[in-house]
């Protein structure tokens, strides 16, 4: 297995394992058998959100999701966000453990903190280099958004 790529978010280095596929909404995808793949948040996403407090899904196993369909909601130390399907596909299962204890996302985002499995066509997903490039091109505006919002909201550390 080759070395993971790193993406610098200020002093923080987001780790991007090279064997994974990636989606533009900052989810990773681990290619599985019979077209069933596992998805979770990248360490980049987790760093933006900080500690995850609360996770809620609006979908059930067996349901067909369209790409970018709103599928849930997350609340973290610093942020809230809707959650959106990274690709179209059939939901095979949600990670029940992470629903019980969302902090798994914080401690092991590429392992026990996985989110769900989809039977899906993942040909549109990115490899690690493409995802790294995607992060680079988006980093400037993302930083501006977060800094300005935090200033406005008095959330600066």
């Amino acid at each position: 297995m080759s070395e993971p790529r790193l993406f610098a978010m200020g002093k923080y280095l987001a780790v991007l394992p090279s064997e994974l596929r990636y989606c533009k909404n900052h989810m990773w995808c681990r290619v599985g058998e019979e077209g069933i793949h596992t998805f979770g948040f990248t360490s980049y996403a987790v760093r933006l959100m900080r500690d995850v407090y609360f996770l809620e899904w609006r979908i059930e196993a067996g349901q067909f999701l369209s790409a970018r369909q709103e599928i849930g909601f997350i609340e973290t130390q610093k942020a809230t966000s809707g959650l959106y399907a990274p690709v179209a596909g059939e939901l095979i299962q949600l990670n029940a453990e992470v629903l019980q204890d969302p902090s798994l996302i914080n401690v092991d985002c590429y392992g026990s903190g996985w989110l769900f499995q989809l039977r899906a066509d993942i040909s549109e997903t990115l490899n690690v280099d493409q995802y790294h490039a995607h992060l680079e091109s988006g980093w400037e505006p993302t930083q501006r958004l977060i800094k300005a919002q935090m200033n406005k909201l008095g959330l600066e550390e």
Binding site: H26, A79, G154
Partner: protein
């Protein structure tokens, strides 16, 4: 003359979030031993229907009122206003950093509402009392809330507000249906009491309050717009835009939410077309629509939805798409931009973009 009791009402979290429920219970428990407070527990304020006993209780309170809820203060305040529970907006310091609190003046007891706002203001007479909506999400611990209630108590005493004419809180006898849910595990209250004690919540031997008044009748989840009349200019664009008959006007041609339950669950479209951001959906995920005071220094969380794949697009396109979706769900024809589109939107590009517009544009260009 003794100081009047301050009524503290806890509006429960609609879900069964254990941490939230635990905070509610801690606050109730701490306030119960305090004769200067009248404590009541109601279900989520937003969900209360017009006949709910919790609402009848709130309407009977005449004195100063602290409302603890899981809603933004603006949202809670104007939900109460809609139900005829009116007063001056009591500014909380909960969740505010020190430097901003220094600048805040206690409003004069002569003042009606903040004068700088362009809105038409609440209808009818504003009784001479203060309503303090506190957002429990601003509190990390029960102690934070209790300290703020103490501060409010002092502020109310210092204000020397004369009693409003007519009856006072102490003479009102609402129906006290004590389910005692919050405290039954302490063994002080049986699980269900269904009688009317002479002095509700006060134990007969010690005179100390032993249980909060609870009005926890079932409340189906509701979804409807809440108008902030301190911002609303009565432009009636929401009336034109909504095709489900939610809005109407009163006898004075003032906009009102006439048929709240005709509103389509999850759809915040009218809020997006409101030029004053006066329409709130208190349970919508985006803080601005849910009633957050953006920039007011509250501990609002940032919304990262756009980074994680949420739809971009300008507010009007979003609103039109949301409206079309609801029309189709209701078996009607989508109307797109053909009906009820505010004319000002055609000139929207003329307005200078504010900082947030620019940021959002940046995100749109990310091409998620």
């Amino acid at each position: 003359m003794t100081h009047r009791r301050l009524t503290v009402v806890i509006s429960q979290s609609p879900g069964k979030h254990p941490q939230k429920r635990s905070l509610e219970e801690s606050i109730v428990a701490a306030l119960l031993g305090r004769p200067e407070y009248e404590v009541a527990v109601v279900p989520n304020l937003y969900d209360l229907g017009p006949d709910h006993t919790g609402l009848l209780f709130l309407q009977a309170v005449r004195g100063n009122l602290v409302v603890l809820s899981w809603l933004y203060p603006r949202a809670a305040f104007w939900i109460l206003d809609r139900h005829g529970i009116k007063g001056h907006f009591g500014q909380t310091r909960l969740g505010q950093s020190e430097d901003t609190t220094e600048e805040r003046e206690t409003p004069s007891s002569e003042g009606i509402e903040p004068q700088s706002t362009p809105g038409i203001g609440p209808s009818g007479e504003i009784p001479n009392r203060w309503i303090y909506p506190l957002d429990l999400r601003d509190a990390e611990r029960a102690e934070d809330v209790l300290a703020e209630i103490e501060r409010i108590t002092l502020e109310c005493q210092q204000r020397h507000a004369p009693h409003p004419e007519g009856n006072t809180a102490s003479t009102v006898s609402p129906i006290w249906v004590s389910l005692g849910l919050a405290l039954q595990r302490n063994g002080s209250v049986p699980a269900e009491i269904d009688h009317l004690p002479a002095h509700p919540g006060v134990s007969s031997d010690t005179g100390e309050p032993s249980a909060p008044a609870t009005f926890l009748g079932p409340t189906p989840r509701r979804w409807y717009p809440v108008i902030d009349y301190s911002r609303c200019t009565n432009c009636l664009e929401c009336l034109d835009f909504c095709l489900f008959g939610v809005y109407g006007v009163d006898a004075w041609e003032r906009i009102l939410v006439e048929n709240p339950d005709q509103c389509k669950k999850g759809c915040p479209a009218c809020s997006r077309v409101c030029p004053q951001q006066a329409i709130m959906f208190p349970e919508y995920k985006s803080p601005a629509i849910a009633g957050a005071e953006i920039g007011a220094g509250g501990s609002v969380k940032i919304d990262l939805s756009k980074l994680f794949g949420g739809d971009g697009g300008d507010a009007l396109s979003l609103a039109v798409a949301e409206r079309d979706r609801e029309l189709i769900n209701a078996g009607r024809q989508a109307v797109g931009m053909s009906v009820g589109i505010p004319k000002r939107q055609a000139h929207k590009a003329d307005q200078p973009k504010d900082e947030l517009d620019k940021l959002v544009d940046d995100l749109d260009n990310l091409g998620l």
